[in-house]
């Protein structure tokens, strides 16, 4: 089959037109019949179509488009793809807290990205410090909310919380439990005679005696004024009476020093033991009654609640 030179030119022009259209048009041109017979054209055409599709996919954010063509241009596209996929992975790592990731293959972008990561790390570091401070502050706040500022032991609120929990345990397991109610005798006259500083010192002295006498599982608090309470879990009223007597005797013989004065104080102590059906209020109330009984009988003594 012979062909005239004009035919070759026409064919070449058609080829150029088709390739131009392939580059320029939104919709790729159909392969003209004349070109389907040109050796290698179909292959070239599908490679170009793939390159088109790959670039379009990347430009719209689909980084997973697989380019199967070989050679320099597809290779360059794959390098871009590999870089973007790696960058995606790095970003994920940074999001999970790995601030050592650095980009080194994206020119100006690398620099901006890396300084952003450094900034992020610095901010996270500051945030962590603030968080620690805040945690610490919360702990202090929580402690303050539970503590009597003068004596440093539980305040009424927190003592009640602890006792409530203990009541639940008692109801569930049925073991014994007693409560001591302590009240410093003639506290008002100590304040009036020696001043509030003396009264405060007396409260602190009683506190340290309670701390000494309390056993591992006992807990206590200042309920207000000169009134204190101690809970003795797994202790019956006889055991509690011994602890109460020790407290009373220790306080009586402990000298309280403030300024140039030395004085002694005593306390009246009421003891009650948990009975089935008791609420925290009834248990405390009986201890309170026993404590008033002690006051009535001359103070500086221990009285056991008659019931239980």
């Amino acid at each position: 089959m012979s062909s005239k030179p004009e035919d070759s030119i026409t064919l070449a022009e058609l080829l150029v037109k088709t390739l131009q259209e392939l580059l320029a048009s939104r919709i790729p041109p159909k392969i003209p019949d004349e070109l389907t017979k040109v050796k290698g054209f179909q292959q070239l055409y599908s490679t170009l179509i793939e390159i088109r599709s790959a670039i379009m996919a990347f430009s719209t954010g689909d980084l997973n488009y697989r380019v199967s063509s070989k050679g320099y241009v597809p290779g360059a596209i794959k390098s871009l793809q590999a870089a973007l996929l790696h960058l995606t992975w790095q970003t994920k790592m940074i999001a999970s807290g790995d601030f050592t990731q650095r980009v080194d293959f994206m020119g100006d972008f690398s620099e901006s990205f890396n300084s952003m990561v450094k900034q992020l790390e610095e901010n996270m570091r500051k945030l962590n410090i603030s968080n620690l401070l805040l945690q610490d502050f919360n702990i202090q706040l929580e402690h303050a909310a539970r503590t009597d500022p003068l004596t440093g032991i539980n305040n009424r609120g927190y003592f009640s919380e602890l006792l409530k929990l203990e009541m639940e345990r008692i109801t569930r397991y049925g073991h014994a439990c007693t409560v001591l109610m302590l009240d410093i005798d003639h506290f008002k006259s100590i304040n009036d005679t020696y001043g509030h500083a003396a009264g405060d010192e007396a409260l602190r002295t009683l506190t340290s005696i309670i701390q000494e006498c309390a056993r591992k599982n006992d807990f206590y608090g200042r309920l207000g004024g000169e009134e204190f309470a101690i809970t003795l879990p797994e202790t019956d009223i006889h055991g509690a009476a011994i602890v109460a007597e020790r407290l009373r005797a220790n306080l009586e013989t402990t000298v309280i020093k403030f300024d140039s004065h030395e004085l002694f104080v005593t306390a009246s102590i009421g003891v009650s033991q948990y009975q089935a059906g008791d609420t925290m209020e009834t248990l405390l109330h009986r201890a309170d009654q026993a404590m008033y009984e002690a006051k009535k009988n001359g103070r500086n003594r221990v009285c056991l609640s008659s019931v239980g």
């Binding site: 050679g71 320099y72 597809p74 290779g75 360059a76 390098s79 590999a82 870089a83």
Partner: protein, 138 residues
């Protein structure tokens, strides 16, 4: 060099056996490499970081992670070697079997799980980049 060497072995042993030899040789090298060049860690990031640094420092290549899903046991990495590949047949050239073995051993040493590594692509644009797909063997 490796290619001439490979050609001879291939002529005597056949392609399949040659591939196996190269994969195993790579795995052996990978295991040695892990033992001597890396500090053991259980953290994938840390492992990758160390590996990247050593490979770069030794001029072996640039390792980049494209995807890593340790739960699924699937990892895709690329390794770019700064070597002039203009003399190599760059079309349809995908036989970095030694590297496959090398990477599989590194991953196994790191995770304690066996990995099958397959080179899924290879291209040449100044330097040569190979893309490897690693899958945990369940």
């Amino acid at each position: 060099m490796q290619f001439a060497f490979r050609d001879v072995i291939e002529r005597h042993m056949g392609t399949e056996a040659t591939d196996k030899i190269f994969y195993e040789a790579g795995a052996l090298a990978g295991k040695e490499f892990y033992t001597h060049m890396l500090t053991p860690t259980t953290d994938l990031n840390e492992f990758v970081r160390q590996l990247q640094k050593v490979l770069k420092d030794l001029g072996i290549g640039i390792l980049r992670v494209e995807k890593a899903d340790m739960e699924k046991g699937e990892i895709i990495v690329t390794v770019s070697e700064d070597l002039d590949c203009s003399g190599l047949p760059e079309i349809d050239y995908e036989i970095c079997i030694y590297d496959e073995g090398f990477i599989s051993a590194l991953l196994e040493c790191f995770s304690g799980i066996k990995f099958t590594v397959k080179e899924v692509d290879c291209w040449c644009t100044g330097d040569r980049t190979c893309r490897f797909n690693a899958k945990a063997v369940v």
